[in-house]
């Protein structure tokens, strides 16, 4: 996709610079003249939204770091001080804490987009894998950040998550003591989490650069999944997508602002307004909403080690997805059966999130009463197990098999033809071109 550069320096200075550091050329080829499929819909605007989210988190984070004190005795109070006493501290703090949620909202939509339109299929495997790395780094960053305010959820979330790694040291404490720098989550832990919370977003930025680089080598996928075949299929990135992306960013920021200004704590947990207390665990520990589905998978399995493996596995499986899906048709627009399984997959993820937020032993609905008069029925644990099975089944059974048995619908001959309603290629399996 990245054809020969069309940049022509116009002034003496840019000509001089271009021969020494072609940075203006890089920007021009990447964001101005970059040939982009002309049929991208609004699901494609989330990449730009994510860029803005990262910048927002870094800018607000650097400001918070000017006022935050990473010490068990002062951390909680310093965050309260930011919210109450520091001029506009409430604004910066609310943007940062809600920004994390917005970031995840955008990244999940961005990923479901990729799953639906087959953006992980050749030649975009590396692009997809870099995206998976970004997701994991984001989760790590958000988890570390959530510990910093040192409320009850911060402390006990940190305790539970670090104890996950004890599944691998046979109860000797070698790994956990190393992670904590002590015999429990304490001041040493808070300090190192702060250091890493500051570091990871910049590593994230580096991986995002690789992600965009990989994008610019292979080019955008598009809603038809049909590869770009000629100049007629594309438009230059600027002004077409700069404007479309900007519009979407504005809409997204309206939503963001509603949270920041009208319900800044709606996504948080009341227990995090209680200072950390190592002697008492809150009645229920729940992570932030964006980690709930993974928490549900962890709890769905009765064995600690297997639960931890399943939870990490649910993320790692995304890395090999390009080789699990056997269908050569990219876009599920033309996969009449797969698209239904995809819809169920989205529902499955939402249900897992619901299970993660609820006590596993509570009932989704009641079916009867046992001998002692307790209500019995379908528990959240059962719901979590069914959905965990579907989550893995989707990747390990449905996508591999479906590619072999499904007959795809007719795809347009080209992007241009699809936009202008041109002729269709035949729907027989034999006519399927490599990866459309």
């Amino acid at each position: 996709m990245s054809g020969p550069s069309t940049y022509e320096p116009k002034t003496g200075f840019t000509r001089w610079l271009d021969q020494r550091l072609p940075i203006v050329r890089l920007g021009y080829d990447s964001f101005v003249d970059f040939p982009t499929p002309k049929n991208l819909n609004y699901w494609w605007t989330f990449g730009g939204i994510l860029m803005v989210c990262l910048v927002t988190q870094i800018v607000t984070g650097v400001v918070l770091a000017m006022h935050y004190v990473p010490h068990v005795d002062y951390a909680f109070a310093s965050v309260q001080r930011i919210e109450r006493d520091v001029p506009f501290g409430w604004l910066v703090q609310n943007i940062h804490s809600n920004g994390a949620s917005m970031f995840f909202l955008a990244v999940y939509i961005h990923m479901f987009r990729g799953l639906y339109y087959g953006s992980y299929k050749p030649p975009r495997e590396v692009l997809w894998i870099l995206g998976c790395v970004i997701l994991i780094l984001m989760m790590a960053t958000a988890f570390l950040g959530y510990v910093l305010p040192w409320g009850q959820m911060s402390f006990w979330g940190a305790t539970v998550i670090t104890n996950l790694f004890a599944a691998f040291d046979g109860g000797t404490g070698i790994i956990t003591n190393w992670l904590w720098g002590g015999f429990s989550v304490g001041n040493a832990t808070l300090n190192r989490f702060y250091s890493l919370h500051y570091l990871l977003p910049f590593i994230l930025a580096g991986v995002i650069i690789l992600h965009v680089w990989a994008l610019h080598v292979v080019g955008n996928n598009n809603p038809t999944g049909v590869s770009v075949k000629s100049r007629a299929d594309t438009v230059p990135f600027h002004p077409y997508y700069t404007v479309k992306d900007s519009f979407a960013i504005v809409l997204f920021f309206i939503l963001f602002a509603i949270f920041v200004f009208f319900m800044p704590n709606a996504l948080g947990h009341a227990d995090n307004f209680i200072p950390a207390n190592p002697l008492s665990t809150p009645a229920e520990i729940v992570p932030e909403w964006y980690l709930l589905p993974f928490y549900a998978i962890l709890r769905a399995i009765p064995n600690k080690l297997l639960g931890v493996i399943a939870m990490f596995g649910s993320l790692l499986i995304l890395f090999i997805l390009p080789w699990l899906d056997t269908s050569r048709v990219r876009s599920m627009r033309y996969r009449p059966i797969a698209r239904w399984f995809f819809v169920f997959f989205v529902i499955c993820c939402l249900l897992l999130g619901w299970c993660g937020a609820r006590n596993p032993d509570h009932l989704v609905f009641q079916t009867g009463v046992d001998a002692e008069g307790h209500a019995t029925g379908f528990t959240f644990l059962m719901l979590a197990r069914i959905n965990t099975a579907y989550y893995f089944g989707y990747f390990l059974i449905i996508l591999p098999l479906l590619g072999l048995i499904e007959t795809p619908k007719a795809r347009p001959a080209s992007i241009d033809a699809s936009v202008l309603g041109g002729r269709k290629v035949s729907s027989s399996g034999a006519a399927v071109q490599p990866a459309e």
């Binding site: 720098g181 002590g182 015999f183």
Partner: protein, 184 residues
């Protein structure tokens, strides 16, 4: 390298191969040595380790009650068990347990070699993911219950049901005299 034959003597490793491997190995060992301090610095520091023991007077704990003390920054249960609780703990067939241990194996004998079976001392951290279980007879086995993901422990602190893999951990401790104990 365009001409591989320069480097090899009829497929035999050459002197140059040896130098390459030796240099590479040396660099790898060096990289490991440099990495080591950066990894180990994360372990508990000397001052943290220095706080590693604490003393408790058991006579202050009434029968049928428990106290929670802090040792190495983490909570420790000290329970004065009733005769009933002890009997219950001893009656369990240990072959049915997930982490088989007799009640005596979870105690430490006093200076006279006798068990003070009424005093049970354990880390107050659930062996699942580290929450502090609820005590005072909580759970279906009359011992402790962890609300985080529902682990039930019996009157000896042994895991009976739920996701936790191990019994509540008994820290290292010794009796200083009849009723005083040093943990750590």
């Amino acid at each position: 390298m365009t001409d591989a034959s320069i480097d090899t003597h009829d497929g035999e490793p050459s002197r140059r191969d040896f130098i390459h491997i030796a240099t590479g190995a040396f660099a790898a060992v060096g990289a490991g040595l440099v990495a080591w301090p950066f990894i180990v610095q994360m372990n508990p520091a000397a001052d943290t380790l220095a706080l590693a023991s604490t003393e408790v007077d058991l006579s202050l704990v009434d029968e049928g009650s428990e106290i929670t003390i802090i040792w190495r920054g983490r909570p420790v249960f000290v329970r004065h068990r009733t005769g009933e609780e002890i009997a219950e703990a001893e009656a369990v067939d240990i072959s049915t347990l997930r982490d088989p241990q007799t009640d005596d194996e979870r105690l430490v004998p006093g200076p006279d070699g006798e068990y003070r079976r009424q005093y049970l001392i354990m880390l107050a951290t659930c062996t699942h993911l580290g929450c502090v279980p609820l005590g005072d007879g909580a759970g279906d086995y009359g011992g402790w219950f962890c609300p985080c993901h529902g682990s039930h422990y019996d009157t000896s602190g042994r895991i009976r049901r739920g996701p936790a893999p191990l019994n509540l951990i008994v820290p290292e401790y010794t009796y200083l005299d009849d009723s005083r104990v040093r943990i750590g």
